[in-house]
Amino acid sequence: MNHAISRGTLTITYVILALGAVVALFPLALMVVSALKTSAEIVADPLSLPHVPQWINFARAWRDAEMARSLLNSVKVTGLTVVLICATGSMAAYALARQKVRGSRWIAVYFLATTTLPIQLYLFPLYFGFAKLNLVDSIFATSLIYTAIYSPFSIFLLRTYFLAIPVEIEEAAIMDGATRWQVFSRVTLPLVSPGLLTVAVIAGMNTWNEFLISTTFLQGHAVQTAVVRFYSMGGQYSSDWGEIMAAALIIVAPMVAFFLVMQRRFIEGMASGSVKG
């Protein structure tokens, strides 16, 4: 369409778009630059480049935030959640797409409604219930909470993928004597693998980044996630922003790398699921 636009208009358009990019990138650039500065340098001039890159900030952040352990906890809870969501979500989505049983519409509406409930509506009884059952500080129990919260979006996303598959493919397999489960797991599921990837990416990102649930249910030092450990860093070493920014970068880097490789999946997933962090 730009053949219809004058050169001047096009320039203004790009200037505004670039302004938006600067707004989006500026705080992130400050994070990266500050991660390489001493705290004295940051206080003296927040916008200057580091005289000598302080790689030691990363080593100190790694040690003080116990990254080896807290990152592993994040990986564990994220991995478990992704597996649980893909397994239970794809089955439920298949049922909602294929089986027109009575009540399935109401189940769909129920799932939809739970995506909009405030966490505070179920957080407190859940916490005291988990405490009674000794499930607080359990990574598996926490991943069940994430599964409950993030699976409705994955069910609806996968449902549209299942609906796009012609029923004839499955009918042929049924004729050959396959059970419903075999049709689902061998025939249909492989066909929706792009949808599964999107679900895994979004559920993984949300779990990796999540704060309210993890700070409430994973309090013990041994089970804290990287984000929760990072949060408690602020109070402890409040003046050392170089180190805090280095820790921030360690937590953010894997997600950004993932995003750059699979931006389509991120955008598709967040657009359809509309899960706000």
């Binding site: 505004i16 938006g20 509506l121 931006q263």
Partner: protein, 279 residues
Amino acid sequence: MWFLFPALLINLLIILIPALLTVAMAFVSWDGTSDPVFAGFDNFRAMFADPVFSSALLNNVKWTALFLTVPIIMGLVAASLLLMVRKGRTFFQIVYFLPAIIATVVIARVWQGMIYNPDGGLIGWLHIFGFHLDDPLAHPSTALLAVASVDLWHWWGFMAVIFFAAFRQVDRAQIEAARLDGAGYFQLMRYILLPAIRPTIVLMMIMTVIWSFLAFDFVYVLTQGGPAFSSEVLSTLSYRYAFYNFTMGPAAAVALVISLFGLVATIFYVRVQQQELES
């Protein structure tokens, strides 16, 4: 059908049953450890008597108004401009979207330390030019806006990408025809582009209302609702009642109020989405 069973079971155990217990909890007096005692509407009376409740509710309303306008307008402008250019679309989309994928706690700390910090942040850097600003998070009059600004930064790019995806579905012939008739940017927006993506805008506005009443992370991390409860919102108030004051009744009562606002928006949301489910 049993395929639904695992997902449904997890959902019922984690969400529905505790949610029903919260409804019950709103009518008892309980500190989390001793035996709960039936309290009728006492918790609601206590909640309404707390001046922080009404200011938190008002903060949620302000938050909603802000998010219904600023990020949606910024998103629409950026998305429509992206539609006008050919080169750099992917680049701008990636950059705009980037803040949306970063952990809220990390974003909060970056803004706290690198932007709002008078010693070592952008605010402090402005001293060089004679602007002696203080940390906006530390003042009751500016704290809420300062917190909301961080969420706005985190959020507007996502809106831009969503709206851009919607704009791309608009019939190109229609846009070209309008252009040939001499329509400028504002006429194109007013008569072609905005009406064409109305359903997307409506859905995003409904979701914005829901999310605005759920807002928690940025407030909790940046100000803990302070100073002097000036940036307290309903979700942080509920959390404070439960885990700092150990008064489960009022915590549950506030949670019900949040849900009530969410419910109204949810009814609209389910209606809109159901049309999609029917298809």
